[in-house]
Symmetry: C2
């Protein structure tokens, strides 16, 4: 059983990694080549050749989404995104801002997930959120940690991720399959809202330019 390669990338502390692979450890470098969580995630996406499967609580980072879209359209990489249902409208808004209709992305599948359901003594139902964050690349590497794909986590908040290869990936692969089986298709109502908003924008924009 080969050893797992573990590399640590931090959001804002200057601790970063050089390279990640199954042969050894990524060592921190100061000065030479510093990059944080966002850059580590983007490098992982760029390295994908076949499939990317990710679970995220909040996804509003445009650069990362564009990278995923590019992986789909230019390198024919299949992309599976499981997103927490509560944060899905923000993801949809980002797509709308980018002029992207996710239903038109041939190699991209986006689905919703929730946490556990809990019933209080009074019978009230509480639905948990998904705080898991990991991204499988080609089934051979996994990026996981506290970093969410948002501007605040990339710039403001202190976050960390680790990149694993080797047998650890199997755990995440299984976890993704379980979560995918529990996931639901995206809410058509939200999509129609977004489409309506886009249509409204298309109607309003020419009107504004004329006035």
């Amino acid at each position: 059983m080969p050893p797992a390669a573990v590399a640590v990338a931090s959001g804002d502390c200057g601790l970063s990694t050089d390279s990640v692979g199954s042969k050894g450890w990524g060592l921190p470098r100061y000065g030479a080549e510093l990059y944080g969580c966002k850059e580590a995630v983007r490098r992982e996406i760029h390295s994908a050749r076949e499939v990317i499967a990710l679970v995220m609580d909040s996804f509003t980072d445009m650069d990362i989404f564009k990278d995923l879209q590019e992986a789909c359209s230019k390198r024919h990489v299949k992309v599976y995104i499981l997103l927490d249902q509560a944060s899905f409208p923000h993801f949809l808004k980002m797509c709308s801002n980018l002029g992207v209709n996710i239903e038109e992305q041939k190699l991209m599948r986006v689905r919703n997930i929730n946490g556990n359901t809990y019933y209080t003594r009074s019978g009230a139902k509480i639905v948990g959120k998904v705080h898991e964050k990991f991204m499988l690349v080609d089934g051979i590497r996994v990026t996981t940690g506290s970093y969410s794909f948002t501007w605040t986590d990339g710039k403001l908040n202190s976050s960390n991720i680790i990149i694993l290869s080797g047998p650890a990936v199997e755990h995440f692969d299984l976890e993704f399959q379980i979560l995918y089986a529990e996931s639901k298709p995206i809410n058509p109502w939200l999509l129609s809202c977004s489409q309506e908003r886009e249509m409204a924008n298309q109607l309003i924009k020419p009107w504004i330019s004329k006035t």
Copy 2:
């Protein structure tokens, strides 16, 4: 260089690990011994012999805090806690509910940290949060992932953690040192508020019992 031991524990998916050590992998077991993130964290605390150093965004889980307190008082384990400043009042409230004055804990040090500071074009200052979550045990193992020490992450939300040993721990050790150097002592105003609340409670309780 010994291989890293990586074990994955999930919040609510039934995926868990048996044992974690530097010799090999913790393998998932179904049925025999299932435990989630909270249980994995509590087992790690129970295993500590010398020092626990943790960074957390939100810490309100009473069981985990009691475990840390017990490690301090009964096994003389030194405990260092770095907490995000924004969530600190909730931590303090939990301590107050438990009747614990953290300033009286001889072997426990609690300090505050923030994320990055960002200045907008208009000159407004935005202070980021700490989303990093990891716990070093005796400098030989680290528990990290998306799991926060809260009731909701333990019961409702879907979270994951991994437990690492081997050279990966060095990265986290260095990261903790950097964060500790950046951390600040806890806000005396918040403490005095809590003490005042406790004093008020002590005054009110006998009065209520008399009426």
